[in-house]
Symmetry: C2
Subunit: 384 residues, 2 copies
């Protein structure tokens, strides 16, 4: 029971919310509003449509729109029948882990250390075994296929990947995908930050490299639709029947209003333009944040090409990122996420988010920088 861990960032967030004059760089949520065309379609649906249950796999029009969107943006060749709509990417992951274990008859899932804090808890919830593959600071937290290979056993059901990665912002390269595909093991690919890529290919998917994969995605990040709670899985043919049964039984169907809105998100050209503008704005913030971090003499520990996160190495100040995060909150009045939330390999690091305004980024990094310069001075004085 004690095994299911809560995010430490949640506790920090709660504490931060009780305080005044805090700069929030711990945020995992777009600060943009949902584009107006998507909102209007949600409103239209409430007014004009019967908001009843949909097909358990999702409205056919939405499943088709998702398949077409992937085919256009990612260069895949999907059919709608392989798309399963769910109440967010999280329940989609629950089904992905379950089906991967069922079809392999095995129960070990490989997840990265560091990685998204919830991944291990999905696996534990389903009585699976979590096995970690290492991403190391020496490699800039990018995937090292040899370190994955050495963790594969005859109990390995699937390998979970996430590109762009939370918390590192690292983006998988073609070579990484090809090497992963060659392993011959089911890949569960969390693609929720795809599209938020600022150098190189903007959209890529494991589905371009192997059919032995489950892709997960959703509308929360790219379309700024977190509260609409809509995601999806893309599954191989042989998974369809079981996944449909699970959707029927465990969830009945996803939110109908959000399904209408999501069709608009994928098909409206004005939405597409706004998404492009958001991506440009994120990139502007990213470059700004990187320059500010450098200015204050702080160390970026991974190449942040995607999502909206930057990892900062604070090992010269602390070996306990949780205490460090509480201290920066109290003393520097800036909220950051402790690296330990994402795994032992990120102890001594913090994550900041640039899903905030340029002004807040500037002020937040300044507060962090000044605080650490002061700490260094105190450190030196103490050592005297």
């Amino acid at each position: 029971m004690a095994e299911i861990k809560s995010f430490k960032v949640m506790d920090i967030l709660e504490k931060a919310n009780e305080m005044e004059d805090i700069i929030h760089l711990e945020i995992g949520e777009p600060d943009f509003d949902t584009p107006i065309e998507i909102k209007n379609e949600g409103i239209r649906a409430i007014k004009e449509e019967k908001i009843g249950y949909t097909h358990s796999m999702g409205k056919k029009e939405l499943r088709e729109a998702i398949a077409m969107y992937y085919n256009k943006k990612y260069g895949t060749n999907l059919k709608y029948k392989n798309v399963v709509v769910s109440a967010g990417t999280s329940p989609a992951l629950l089904l992905a882990v379950y089906t991967a274990m069922e079809f392999s008859g095995k129960n070990e899932i490989l997840v990265s250390n560091p990685g998204y804090a919830c991944y291990p808890n999905f696996i534990k919830f389903l009585n699976g075994k979590v096995s970690y593959y290492e991403l190391s600071s020496e490699d800039g937290f990018s995937i090292n296929i040899e370190k994955i290979k050495e963790k594969i056993t005859d109990r390995t059901a699937a390998i979970l990947i996430n590109s762009p990665g939370n918390p590192t912002g690292v983006v998988l390269k073609k070579k990484d995908y090809m090497e992963l595909a060659e392993l011959g093991i089911t890949i569960i690919s969390d693609e929720i930050y795809q599209g938020l890529v600022y150098e190189g290919k903007q959209y890529d998917t494991i589905l371009n490299y192997t059919v032995n994969a489950i892709a997960l995605n959703g509308f929360s990040k790219l379309f700024a639709m977190t509260g609409w709670r809509l995601g999806y899985l893309i599954i191989p043919d042989r998974y369809i029947m079981l996944t449909q049964k699970l959707e029927q039984n465990l969830f009945i169907s996803a939110n109908t209003i959000s399904q209408y809105a999501a069709i608009e998100a994928l098909t409206n050209e004005n939405v597409d333009k706004q998404i492009n503008n958001m991506v440009k704005e994120y990139n502007k913030r990213r470059l700004f944040a990187l320059a500010e971090i450098k200015k204050w003499g702080l160390k970026v520990a991974a190449n942040p090409l995607g999502a909206y996160y930057i990892i900062i190495d604070v090992r010269e100040y602390t070996n306990n990122s949780l205490i460090f995060a509480y201290k920066t909150l109290e003393k520097a009045r800036v909220a950051v996420t402790p690296g330990i939330d994402f795994g032992t390999n990120l102890e001594g690091f913090i994550r900041i988010s640039y899903a905030v305004s340029i002004e807040n980024l500037e002020e937040g990094i300044k507060r962090l920088g000044e605080y650490l310069q002061n700490e260094k001075k105190i450190g030196k004085e103490t050592r005297r």
Copy 2:
């Protein structure tokens, strides 16, 4: 894998939807529209609120509104901190089953035969063991505490109850609740059809009889909000921390638009009036259907005091309710749910729903009645 069963009614529904001139009595969904005040609040939220993640347990205002609603309608004394909002009653059940197993350290869940077809699948999904307690036609499918007692073992984690019951419409009495509470075993009480009770106490909950219980409820049925996908659990104090972790990890939070709408559903007096009118209308249909069923010489097998279902005994025509349902669909052009969907004890019975218009009820029961009179005649001729 083969253990996770799909509803057979879904297959019938799909077939029925491809056919023309079918009367649908297999429906499990209110035919009423969501009240306009609830819709308007959903629209207002889209327009005026940031539709971001909420607290993982749900918006505090909604949790408070749910607690107050229970306290007012059911006579409980709940606090908001025991209320957990979820994306429908189904994911709420997933958490209820998981936490009941975790806190007891046991893995057997007792479910009724017959009962809602999905219950066993939630338990199997979580690697629990399903154990059935019998509801028999001799008892009119009401709870018989002795038949529950004989199924309790030292591995029993919880007993799952459902009142008003799907598929039977049977409503638990005070005596039933008291006997269940005295067993000293955690009760998971699915209260999704509460309020849809046409004789006796309109609202009752296991929480009036024991603190060792998890109540499940939602907005789909009573408020005609199926497509809004919003439900909740009411849990004992000691479950709060684990349940919050699970919500955070597995679902992040429930749909934000629906949460705003749900507050309106619980607090708007005009909504309350409309709900009362819907309940009156359901009761009118219920009494009408019972009279029609009698007129055609068909046998009602359980006392349908709640929900919107009636069980009809067709054992003199068939011992295979699935084949029977397909036959009535093809020959009488009326869709019904085969009893076997709900368990072996309902083999030889069918379920019809009165969540349809009086006109359709009349026509549907007439088609069924004529078909069966004809079948009887054929049967007699064959026996000659």
